[in-house]
Symmetry: C2
Subunit: 317 residues, 2 copies
């Protein structure tokens, strides 16, 4: 493929593919390392330029991620790709930085209950962890970007409502602790478009251009509507997962993350350039299915195909 694009084809939104991390850690099966590499390459070939390739967590807890460093090593061979990984704590961040990632995402729960359940830390303790990770980054890898993803920002399956003031406060605390950006995650699929607009507007008012990605789930079918609402509030980075990989254990049969294929189709159909070729994106389902045989995939656009006469202005090859 040809990585150069005419000026008019510069993407207007960044689709950040999280399937290799968020998707793979949510399914029981472990995808073999060689398949992960093939899948990541196929995602890259479709035009994706930010991929969350793994998380750095103890292999005892998440055996699916035991090969994280090797996966990062492969992803680093793809020119122009921002290689992203999740780290829940300082130890994970150390390993991720040692592996050479370009960007780290740290999950910081807005729900007090979820924070304790997920990382065994209070929210204040997690902000301290962000500060420690920033200090480490400054020391050993100052070029690496750090994003604090505020999870359960739109509601929590443990505590229900999450006060909006606490979400915005926490994002501001993470920025004050040195994170480069902070986005909002609908971990539980509770968000609605009015809430998405309200919270991203407040986030931008609070932390300005450090407001980061919208990470939406499709648990109740509102994933794309929530992305549209976020877009209209000025958000330009959207997390999504190929085939919607990443089922929520609390919602059997319901898909998890926003489906990359449908999200890219929505933006492209609206005339908003993503830099992603939809047909190649759909083709990237093959290595995913090869590496996770029998795993159900979601997504309407791959089933229906593209509309008759649909022309994608962004074809980047």
């Amino acid at each position: 493929m040809n990585a150069t694009m005419p000026h008019t084809q510069i993407p207007e939104v960044l689709i950040s593919e999280v399937g290799p991390r968020d998707g793979l850690q949510s399914v029981k099966a472990t995808m073999p390392t060689a398949d992960k590499k093939r899948w990541i390459t196929a995602l890259y070939d479709a035009g994706l330029r930010e991929i969350e390739v793994c998380s750095f967590v103890p292999a005892k807890l998440l055996p699916q991620m035991a090969d994280a460093a090797e996966v990062v090593k492969h992803a680093l061979t793809l020119p122009g790709l921002t290689v992203m990984a999740l780290a829940p704590n300082l130890r994970g961040a150390q390993a991720a930085l040692a592996a050479g990632v370009h960007k780290l995402t740290l999950p910081v729960s807005a729900s007090a209950a979820h924070s304790l359940a997920n990382v065994r830390k209070t929210r204040e303790e997690m902000v301290d962890e962000v500060r420690n990770i920033v200090a480490l980054r400054n020391e050993i890898a100052p070029g690496v970007k750090i994003e604090a993803g505020i999870s359960t920002a739109f509601g929590c399956t443990l505590q229900g409502d999450v006060p909006e003031d606490e979400v915005i406060w926490l994002a501001a605390q993470c920025i004050a602790a040195g994170a480069d950006e902070s986005g909002l995650s609908d971990t539980t699929g509770y968000a609605n478009p009015a809430q998405v607009r309200r919270l991203f507007r407040r986030l931008r008012a609070e932390i300005g251009s450090r407001a980061g990605a919208a990470h939406m789930h499709n648990t109740r079918g509102l994933g794309l509507a929530n992305c549209l609402a976020a877009y209209e509030e000025g958000v330009r980075t959207f997390d999504a997962s190929l085939g919607g990989l990443g089922g929520c254990p609390y919602a059997p049969g319901a898909s998890g993350n926003v489906v990359t294929e449908d999200l890219v189709f929505m933006f492209e159909a609206m005339g908003i350039r993503t830099g992603v070729n939809i047909e190649k994106l759909i083709a990237a389902r093959a290595p995913l299915q090869a590496g996770l045989p029998g795993e159900p995939l979601y997504g309407m656009t791959p089933e229906a195909g593209l509309p008759k006469g649909f022309f994608q202005g962004t074809v980047n090859d």
Copy 2:
């Protein structure tokens, strides 16, 4: 159930359930009349106050609709319900008016190719048919409302692109021919939110308050995002189908109409009152499934359930 609602619970949007017509005529099996009646009653009990209960078409063409008059007769027993039916021509309209419907919807294709394929008439001939149906209504049932639903308004599986000027022209022609309102239908699942906003804005500029419902499909997953876009342009009536019944033959495995359960959840979660009780709406899937055993239903909210602590202000009993 108690049909009176406090003033604050007056619905802000009208969800027009089209499953008994659009859904049932799209599936191969014929639902027994007794099951149709039970299903319609369950939809009514959930708070739906406009239901498209059938279409008046030759039984040879659509045996699923052979009991249309009997279904209308039952629906007319439900107080406060607007009983709606589709009629593709004057003969169908005669039968519908004789059966006592409150509202008639006439499908008028914006795509020249689809118009010929669907009703064997040019668009101009179909406008003449609208005029004839209006004359008949004026003579024998002046209280009945007539809606011209502009189908393939966002693109066509036969001809591809449908010029927006022609869509708006056709809607204006239908209003000039005497239709009370004209809405836009994404028959093929081609619509995107930017196009939805543009077309409904133009429609409103052209025919003002006679702009009618948004009839969106979910073929490529954009159904709710398109409804959100239409809402933001001032649309307040939305067609939807319980369980997304109504698969598109051109999109195997893809659902057809916007799923009523997810649409109602989206609006209610946004604080926009629908008058529909989501739990009772989900319960209305049981008589649908009883009458169409084995038919796949869609919808994420029924799978995932309501968020923890979710309170619906519109519970109307």
